[in-house]
Symmetry: C3
Subunit: 325 residues, 3 copies
């Protein structure tokens, strides 16, 4: 699947939903600014509907195959809930390692079998490119729920939707990403999505965990202003969105460097004192110690609400690719 062009042969009413019908969701790169605007409009409607009535039968009779080659409670639960809140059903396939896959079956064969039973497939797989491979063979839509060090597009979409819902806009904001920016798949994808908006980006990390050069080049090519830092102090006061990620000890060859840095990237009420009153702190979760639980009660702590926004984005995506939004 590539970007989503309008279809000139459709009446105007179908112009916006038709391009999504039957499509795969593989990468954040496939979306234009207009696609995101439309998607988030649908996601917002989902939020309103869930808050008002809990569930509704938009996808009644539709079946999602939830195919997880590696466990991810949070992501699989979110997709399951999204399908069930729309009245659809789920075939959960989480013990894949024991099953026909381990007998040597290829991913294309597994996907072509499952699509005999299901209307849409959500795939989590440890290998980069696996979602694209599955989509190449599948007749039914594939939604990439993480392909190793590749992409996890629905995470990036829910991150962006969180910003939009919490702060009312994306343009004009200063977004600061903190922690492990080298290996963090989420900050890479989010940076790419944010390059479609007028934002200012601050990257705060230890030297050995800086944002990769290819991401920085992409941002430069698109004219997105950004700056790099090793401490948070200078940029925190101007920050509208602080996106925190975990700095893992294993990333450091020299444990002394880890020890020297680890407390620099911990968020707690004291650290947050210079921050704006109206701003948000996000985290892809799970967190360990990089955000102290004593900050959880702060209204700026948006990381659990972020989970909930993920539900609405996934509801919107499922409805759209199944042609029912």
């Amino acid at each position: 699947m590539t970007a989503l062009p309008l279809n000139p042969h459709l009446p105007l009413g179908d112009q916006r939903t038709a391009p999504w019908y039957g499509k795969d969701i593989l990468s954040v790169r496939q979306f234009t600014h207009d696609d995101l605007k439309f998607l988030f409009g649908v996601a917002h409607e989902m939020r309103v509907m869930v808050e008002r009535v809990g569930t509704f039968d938009l996808l009644k009779g539709k079946i999602l195959a939830s195919l997880f080659y590696e466990p991810s409670t949070r992501t699989s639960s979110s997709f399951t809930a999204a399908m069930e809140r729309l009245g659809g059903s789920v075939i959960p396939i989480s013990e894949v390692k024991y099953s026909s896959v381990s007998k040597g079956e290829s991913l294309p064969d597994t996907v072509r079998s499952l699509e005999c039973y299901a209307d849409v497939i959500v795939l989590r797989h440890p290998e980069i490119g696996s979602a694209a491979l599955a989509a190449k063979y599948a007749r039914k839509p594939i939604i990439n729920a993480g392909d190793g060090v590749g992409e996890h597009p629905t995470q990036a979409l829910l991150d962006l939707f969180t910003i939009l819902e919490e702060l009312g806009k994306v343009d004009g904001l200063t977004i600061t990403m903190l922690g492990d920016l080298k290996y963090g798949r989420t900050v890479h994808s989010l940076s790419r999505l944010l390059s479609l908006y007028n934002v200012k980006l601050n990257f705060v990390s230890p030297d050995i965990l800086k944002m990769p050069a290819d991401i920085l080049e992409e941002l430069q090519a698109k004219g997105v202003p950004f700056s790099q830092h090793t401490t948070l102090d200078a940029v925190l006061p101007e920050t509208d969105v602080l996106y925190v990620t975990r700095v893992q000890k294993e990333r450091f060859e020299n444990p002394e460097i880890y020890e020297a840095h680890k407390n620099t990237y911990v968020i707690n009420p004291g650290v947050m004192r210079p921050a704006k009153e109206k701003m948000i702190v996000m985290h892809p979760l799970p967190r360990v110690t990089e955000i102290g639980i004593e900050f959880d009660e702060d209204p700026r702590a948006a990381y659990f609400r972020q989970m909930e926004y993920g539900l609405y984005v996934r509801m919107a995506l499922l409805a759209l690719v199944l042609g029912k939004a």
Copy 2:
């Protein structure tokens, strides 16, 4: 959550269901005699409804997150069936050991994430106090499905409901508990619940597996008559309910003592000859050899029916905490 008081601000019609709405089910200690009477009334209605129509849509659109940190096919199946028979959906999370929890996430964070997707959480966890901890952080109701050596309140409730449905009353009955009374969580909780009724209790066990002193003191304080025995013979003829538990070999330091006792606590048609014609034999299941399968056809063998009463009690609890009973 503490006991369930009536709310003086509500009209009388809501007086009985309102106190349950949004509440956690953590311990048998939280229930009064009146709470039990009301709960079992609802559970009985569930039984009638299931027998008449199979399922109904009382909880249509509601989602249960079934969060099992250790496997328990029986309990998880029972809650899943309870939710589905009420028209609701389930997010099954049974491979928790592989998931974000094993990445180091805390139980409170897991629960606060899941409640973004679900309306109620059933939690099974190997550590005592885990359900209370989860409830402290969760906005949505937590139902304790066993917290290690702590409590398993829905098991005790279904045990009591079984007695009520099978024998038509609880007051006035003689209940004999047999086997491992020291480590058996079910007999402890059931004893506590029974102390709210006018019953006589007999405890039959090897000396080293006697009912713990704190339970006996509680019973004494509440004026519940009880007696302790090492063999069943003397008390079987007067018994209305015989609650059998397994005596596990591992509990005995001296294997000779185990060998000497093991056949003393096996129920079979011969052993049951002196028992009343109208009485019941219960067991929390799974059983191994402590009840011979040749007794299964006896109408007094209530242990499989007991499973079914569990379904109705769990349906009632789910409906009540979701405000729909």
Copy 3:
């Protein structure tokens, strides 16, 4: 359960569905030619309904316990989808090894517990005779989803239904089975079912993997014409159905013999050139190298459609044993 006789006490309209209600599906041997004709009629209706409306609420309120003692993604997904496409619910029990079963509980006890919650049980178990054992104790219908080297009747039924739907008839066809005919459970069951029709059978295998004598004797006793071969060449041109199975290296004591044979039993476009234009290639899946993926686009490649026919057959069976077809 034995064969399905008509019930003389029922009005004619119920004559055909009534014999299925409440019955177990344990073996292909329990079906007569008329049973199959009726079953496939219902399965065809299911196909039409799914293609037209996706799902329908025939089994709304019914619960399937899907009890898998060994993993089989394909089979469990198929039954789950079948139940969900009929509006029913599923209790998935796939981690049985960790559960009460591993505490030593017997299969009869597990089944008698589960039937307290469910309306029908699908059982996959590694031991031959396990489904019959479960059925002996269960009040609710048991569907055998594979009992070790025993039977996997729904696979054989879907194989036969595939032939019928793809070629419009079974009588008069020449069916060639290829590969491991000694250990292949599917080809044994399918041969037995085909002996109810007027077919000609060709068995193509290495000498050490020939169809077992008892199957050949059964075919002979029923007057089914068959012949045995070690290569495909002679019989391929007359073949209407080519049923391919995998030849596993482990079956050969002498690896040289395996190496000598392995390419003899690989299907690809070149090999298929002498075959009819209107014929089908089937495979129970998963396949490894015995059918090249370059053959997948050939219209005669029916193995993925075969999966889909499995859905309709399982929908029909579930509806019939639950009395709702």
